[in-house]
Amino acid sequence: EDQVTQSPEALRLQEGESSSLNCSYTVSGLRGLFWYRQDPGKGPEFLFTLYSAGEEKEKERLKATLTKKESFLHITAPKPEDSATYLCAVQDRSSNTGKLIFGQGTTLQVKP
């Protein structure tokens, strides 16, 4: 069964303190791994898609990496506006629908 586990559940950082969020996954065949950001009361906002091990993508202070078993979302010198819940999801290659299987998310709080 496809499964996604994110850690830690919650993370508190000081502004400028870099860190990483982890997403471990089990899937029969990976079509893609997705990172989303979700602010309170809003829908998930698309950040990145990674398709194969070794792939990396960057956007501002965020960098996502992928191995065969996990993905990391690295946050460099975070700012308070980076505070949000970060969601990881996978698509199974065997799925005809492309449905996303989500982890529980990591809630990040960045203090000024």
Partner: protein
């Protein structure tokens, strides 16, 4: 361009009543998904529409849940005889289709069953 829109943003209903939730996908997107996000739960897949093909209803939790998509665009999720455990945020997402699997989400409808 305009993103995915959903209405209403909030819905409070009494147990046993029926509710309809609406989703307007991004123009030109052929794939449409419904997910549910409950307190303490991750997002869970409910149903998938692709073009004019038969929908994949494998994620619907009970036969009280149904959905339709008219004209390949707007979708309505209907919950009959609502129960308290149906309280959740219902999220709609759309995707360009088979060549690109990135899904773009709407703001969600928060459903509270009293």
């Amino acid at each position: 361009g305009a993103g995915v829109s959903q209405s209403p943003s909030n819905k409070v209903t009494e147990k046993g009543k029926d509710v309809e939730l609406r989703c307007d996908p991004i123009s030109g997107h052929t794939a449409l998904y419904w997910y549910r996000q409950s307190l303490g739960q991750g997002l869970e897949f409910l149903i998938y529409f692709q073009g004019n093909s038969a929908p994949d209803k494998s994620g619907l939790p009970s036969d009280r849940f149904s959905a339709e998509r008219t004209g390949g665009s707007v979708s309505t999720l209907t919950i009959q005889r609502t129960q308290q455990e149906d309280s959740a945020v219902y999220l709609c997402a759309s995707s360009p289709g088979t060549a690109n699997y990135e899904q773009y989400f709407g703001p969600g409808t928060r459903l509270t069953v009293t």
